[in-house]
Amino acid sequence: MTAAFGLLLAGCGREDLSVLRPQGPVAESSYALMKLSIAIMIVVLLVVFSIATYVWIRFRRKKDQNEIPKQVEGSFKLEVLWTVIPLILVVVLAIPTVKVVFAAGNDHSDDKDAIKVKVTGHQYWWEFEYKDYGVTTAQDLIIPTGKHIAFELSTTDVLHSFWVPSLAGKMDTNPDGTVNRFSFSAPNEGVYRGKCAELCGPSHGFMEFKVKSVSGEAFEKWIASMKAPESVMPDDPALAEKFKSQCLSCHAIGSMPASPVAPSLTGIGSREAVAGILLNDDTREDGAPILENLKTWLHDPQSVKPGNKMPNPKDMGLSDEEIDGIAEFLAGYTLE
């Protein structure tokens, strides 16, 4: 029966987003509990619906039916029956629940083989710090397949909630003092969609990110390129000066120390999306080419993501040509 529901539900949603199509062991364990609970609950519903339908039809008052029905006080046997059976069903669900709760309590924070990532939520972007490697990036979380990723979650402003539905359930990012830890892993290579699941302001719905699961070698290569980035700047010296004075006052790039107020721009040309929601897709099926996305964003950040903290480049004295120039430079700033 559980398997039947599995088949039924598996049709629901995108593989990289849906809770019903789990892509890793942690999401699998949540999904298994869901299937068990749905199966139990459908049995309960069937029993209730059947009895209800039966009594509505069978005991409907007929015309000229005027005798007084027997006034039954109750039935001790029946009361025991519908107390004990639900109790048994609760126990059946409670035992695996408690097991999985404690299994989920293993956050792998002491696991030497685990990749440790400090996740920091900001209105409305995500910062990922690889503590053991001294690397900080934003918006795209790159992880090696098969390895446990040990997360440490916090926020610099309001509460957010870190959620990658196809890989694991969510966990809140709280301010310092109540830092959360948890762990998941992705056995297969792929790009998974992540979302913020706690109301955090106007652009809560746009606080998306991606988890990119890559092979071990590709991950090492990425770390190496992040640790020793080329010092790139726009070719035009005047534009480079503008970029330095206006953009880099908040954003970090290359070997600059990570900034707490704005996402790092290192390798932004290789990312999956601009601002988390303008998906980079040259085929235009699911988004637009990165250059176009960067221009859309830089020409009016507020219209893309209302309430975000980035000042409008035009207000900072950048001309349309300069903005386009910076967009072209950033689009070409890849990590290869």
Partner: protein, 638 residues
Amino acid sequence: MAHAAQSLHPSQPLKPGHSAKRHTGLMDWITTVDHKKIAILYLWAGGLFFGIGGLEAILIRIQLIKPMNTFLDAQTFNELITMHGTTMIFLGVMPVIFALMNAVIPLQIGARDVAFPFLNSLGFWTFLFGGLLLNLSWVMGGAPDAGWTAYTPLSGKGYSSTHGVDFYTIGLQIAGLGTLIGGINFLATIITMRAPGMSFMRMPMFAWATFITSAIILFAFPAVTVGLVLLTFDRILDANFFNVAGGGNPVLWQHIFWIFGHPEVYILILPAFGIISEVIPTFSRKRLFGYSSMVFATILIAFLGFMVWAHHMFTTGLGPVANALFSVSTMLIAVPTGIKIFNWLFTMWGGQVRFTTPNLFAAGFIPTFTMGGVTGVMLASAPADFQFHDTYFVVAHFHYVIVGGLVLGLFAGLHYWWPKMFGRMLSEALGKWTFWTFIIGFHLTFFVQHFLGLMGMQRRVFTYLPNQQFDLLNLVSTVGAFLMGVGMIIFLVNIFLTSRRPADAPNDPWEDGRTLEWTIPSPPPEYNFKQTPLVRGLDAFWKEKMAGAKAMTPAEPVGSIHMPSATILPFMMSVGIFIAGLGFMFSRDEFNNSIMSFLFNNYIVTALGLLITFGSMLMRSLFDDHGWHIEPEELEGR
């Protein structure tokens, strides 16, 4: 204040010389202390706020009808979801619950009024002025925008800089006062004012539900009162209860909020259980199956309801021990709830079920509420909740419980007791149209939302990207919401048409009434019972009918009936609190006008408001009002 209750016993002579103070028109409504009129006030005020909350819901659903919609901007959307939730729970459904309790409880237990008629009026007016204050935010600089749960730091001054959340904290504080007063009043009424012979185990189920609900209110509302005070102090007086930098902790707010918030769910649903337990036996012509286990289950639900608050916080990071404990305690609530559902089904078993409008709503309630109940058990499993939490699955779950449970229950109750409240039967034909449009619309709106949540749509998003397979289900949901709106409009049309017909409902319009309210005229006279009835068993009226009697046996001779005097003081007290609240909220603002700045910044407005309130209280204390009497001649003259 106790004199009103005491003097209901004619053996105690009252001081002479108090003539009746009667008002007419608007003054009558403002000064009334009659529970039946207060019930009608609660109904209209609750209906007004329910309408506002419903319009907010429709705007939300229009915005979500398609991906990347620009019908509303993000800030307005957040204000709408916050106000929709807050309005519906505190100002929409709770007052309608109180309307039915006020209209029915004294009649069901054979009393002439509630224990404290003055407090009853005060409870209504504080609720109304709190609700008005909260809704004033729309025209006074912006509504609250941090969700109805108002999680800090988002609801703190640093991230919600308008006065929106101040309207939320102070408005709810004032409205909550009314709820607490109402709860205490019903506890006292049910404990002390039952007719002779009505032991606790002979009380109608709705009276039991009201009793237990009032007890939950008594213990749960102080928690939210404290929480709102702390948040108000953080925002207005720069306190640091929830500010990490100042040594506070935002998770503390979540605990306080849910220690109130979860019992609140049972404050909402238990009255619905009570209504269903009245409607089903009446229209099955059969006594409630397993009455004593129904009472026991209600008490158990109320008790467990206080033990499960952290299941709203599984993803806050409480650790495995707390998550496991709260998972199991939450699942246990399924057991008493299941007892109730099966007892309702077996009440109908062997009966003669008549599908009048009230019973249609009760019949719709059972499967719909059960669906909300089973998703509740699914949510109780913490590791599964890590996925469900804060998604549309949760939105679907609590709407199944609150709309599919409570609102269907309220519809059942309103159609059932409407003739008792107003003396007119609502149209059965229109009532059935209301039922079918509303329940079909309801399932269209919310059933698909389970799947939206599982497919990755988080709640409280003002829009969503295309190509996520969310589009069709959101469209279906919006269509359903409009259908529910149509159902509501048919209900309003029904009320309007009914109000134009003559008030000719008989004492027992459904013909199979089982409880005391059906023994007296519809609507009842202001003293309810000319003679207090003698109760000889559960379903007191049915018992007399079966014994061949047409009316109850009186427990007293016809005598002079003591009545409480009408008074404007509760209204004045509430106006005072309202002014004080507004004054406090703006006490740190800079105004363009120097007189305004002087008045607000020196707390003069606040003081003026408090002066009105405390002045009214002083008046109430200094001048004894012993009420007035309806003499036997007047009773017989009718």
